[in-house]
Amino acid sequence: MRRTLAALALATFAAGARADAGAAAADGPRATAAYVDELLVRARIMGLAEDPAWLRLGRWRRKPTGWVSEVDGLRFFRSFRGKTDPLAELASTLRGFFEPDRGDEDVHVQCRFPARLQFLTERLGIDPARLPRPACPKLALFRDQTAARAVTLVFSAYYLNNPVSSFGHTFLRLDKAEEARPGKGAELLDSGIDYGAKPDTLNPILYAVKGLLGFFPGQFNRMAYYYKVRTYADAESRDLWEYDLAMTPDEVRLLVSHLWELGQTYFDYWYLDENCSYHVLGAIEAAVPRVTLLDHVGAVVIPADTVKALFLNPGFVRAVHYRPSIRVQFDARAGGLDAREARLVERLYADGSTPFPDDLPPDRRAAVLDAAVDLVDLRHFRDLAVDAAPQAARTRHLLLARRAELRVQSPELQIPIPEERRPDLGHGSLRAGAGAVESTRGGAFAELSFRFALHDLADPPDGYPLLSGIEFLQTRLRLRLSDGQPFVDELWVLRITSLNDFGRFDLRPSWRLRVGAAAVNDAGCDGCLVPKAEAGTGFAKTLGPLDLYAGADAGIDARAGLSGIDGKGIRFGIGPGGLARLRLGRLAILLADARWQWLPGAAPGETFELRGTLRVPLGRRVALSLEALRAPTVREGSLVLQAFY
């Protein structure tokens, strides 16, 4: 009897022990399903599917119809409802984590969605011992190669030679070290991450239209940071501003994981709102739930605004670094040369074998050669890169060989950081104004103005290129006070002024253009709003606080009722134009713009326009603008209060 009892007891214990071991070591499918259900209940109770952190990971935004994710690639969602149902996606992802590992590389849900795994594990307290552990070799390689310890957001400066790259560009750098390393050499080997469109057409018109209307897919890319430096600083001569972000190691890890998730999918690329800067910011925001970034950018996302958004989160920007473009580097070198040495640079650029004067010491020869090579690069970098400038390549080689022979090590180039050009210090991209006008045509008017973006030459210059203006949708509406009649005084769709300080080493012309509609101020159709397109070119010079431009403009006006060529409603104008701007520190800007145009075949046969503007900033967001206009049929003065945001 005792033996049977003992055997029974042993058997029971053994069976019990075996059951326990079974449950702990390898959950049967039923136990796993029960655990997942338990986790889902927990998620529901926590409202996790509507937690901002989860929503950011899936890029769900609230629309009138409910949640809709910005992600357009459907593989980003496990649930067939995932694009519009964050809870379904959460549930499907959670179940996917527990699916057995079938040994297919990187296909397991844990490998495809490591950021979601990190997030859900932490928030739901998932027991890691109960999760299968699939190998994710590609993901592991990505982590190894990026070896991210810190994150930097990089802004490449305004570039007006591409009409639309004039807004700048932002991308990320995954830093292998937490601080910028001395000499910065190692940063070149960090990973750059950017978001860009993948075009499928080479036709310029289709390209522009498709890019604006979301017909290209956009994807995240990774390349060594040196590609970025070569593209922007060297080939396009754009300064780079690097903003080091204060992120914890967990947040950095989450960002890398999230970039892996995003890397597998695409978004429709919309140039105006879901562009490079928008998605870069969105990726950061998903990894760092404690900051708010996308809420701070407007309907049209301008790269500089995304940089400003960083600063709206106190302490989020740890440090700012400046990487000068090749042009700035060259200007710094040229600035350190005397007149004779500067002439030598010009001659060496033309003929690399130009001999040195005997009395020029080696260190000065080195300085001259350094400047000469930078000049070759400044003018030919792109061509050199694709072997399209054999003459320049030969000159360059000769200059470098001579330089090396000197055996002098160049001193480090000291370039003062142009703090006032930092993009985050710029005035707001949107400008609105209200004021009063007194005119010889119609008396007194109230005026309302609005500009979508971005900056003109009379606006406070900080944070923007000193000699450029680009404007989208500058509109001026007036209300005649005597009878309440409304008028559109101007509606410029696009207005660009790109001045270039002409000098011995910079022979580039300046140009300007404006496209839109404006009031005619001559007898051709006095006071009519007429569609206009005008472009001009010339040369500009900066003398201290004074900027001067002189050139010629040509344009077309077209409108029924306009007294144009042979009485028809179209007229062509051409003639000299110029502008002068005086920058009185941060106190005020005085701008004068003059144009005279011959209108062949039209009546009247000529017209002119003289405008003066005095703009006085009153604090960071407001400015007072006094403007005057003199034209054949009208003289007016206005006082407008403008606000930037």
């Binding site: 190669q145 009409p163 000499g183 910065k184 075009p199 080479l202 390549a393 055996r407 160049s410």
Partner: protein, 163 residues
């Protein structure tokens, strides 16, 4: 918003066709890698006219090799010999300049890739051997890489890694 986008598309096209760049003939036998990883990938300059401007503005790279999950690993900065080759492929011009000057960021990066200990020494050595490393502007990237590595390994005091 829709109207705005169409308006701006039109304005862009006008501006782009107005400010279009000169067309360039594609370079025969570019000295940069054919794998698409070299600097040639930056050059929309092989496409004529306005497309150059617009392509760059939309910040499209159009290059498969840079996709996060699809990217090929031969573009990696990497370490030592292969890393040096990749670095030379993309930074040849700047590296030549810094080597001639005996200092600079590209030299620094090269030293990091090759795990060298004496940065200043590396700069001086590259300057000294400049003529051998860059014998002419027509030297290929492979040739430059071989000579570079020879210089780095010729002097043990530079402390560069092997491999």
């Amino acid at each position: 918003m829709r109207t705005l986008k169409i308006l701006l598309a039109l304005a862009l096209v006008l501006a782009a066709t107005g400010a279009s760049a000169q067309s360039k003939k594609p370079a025969a036998g570019s000295k940069y890698g054919t794998a698409g990883c070299g600097l040639g990938s930056l050059a929309f300059g092989n496409q004529p006219g306005g497309i150059q401007i617009i392509a760059a503005t939309l910040n499209g790279t159009g290059i498969q090799t840079f996709g996060i999950t699809t990217g090929t690993s031969n573009c990696e900065p990497g370490l030592l010999a292969q890393g040096t080759k990749n670095f030379v492929d993309a930074n040849r011009e700047v590296l030549a300049k810094d080597a001639a000057r005996g200092e600079g960021e590209a030299v620094g990066a090269l030293a990091v890739i090759n795990q060298c200990k004496d940065l200043k020494g590396v700069g001086a050595a590259l300057q000294r051997d400049y003529g051998t490393i860059f014998p002419s502007e027509k030297a290929t990237n492979e040739e430059v890489t071989v000579q570079l590595l020879k210089t780095l390994h010729s002097d043990p005091s530079l402390g560069c890694g092997q491999g």
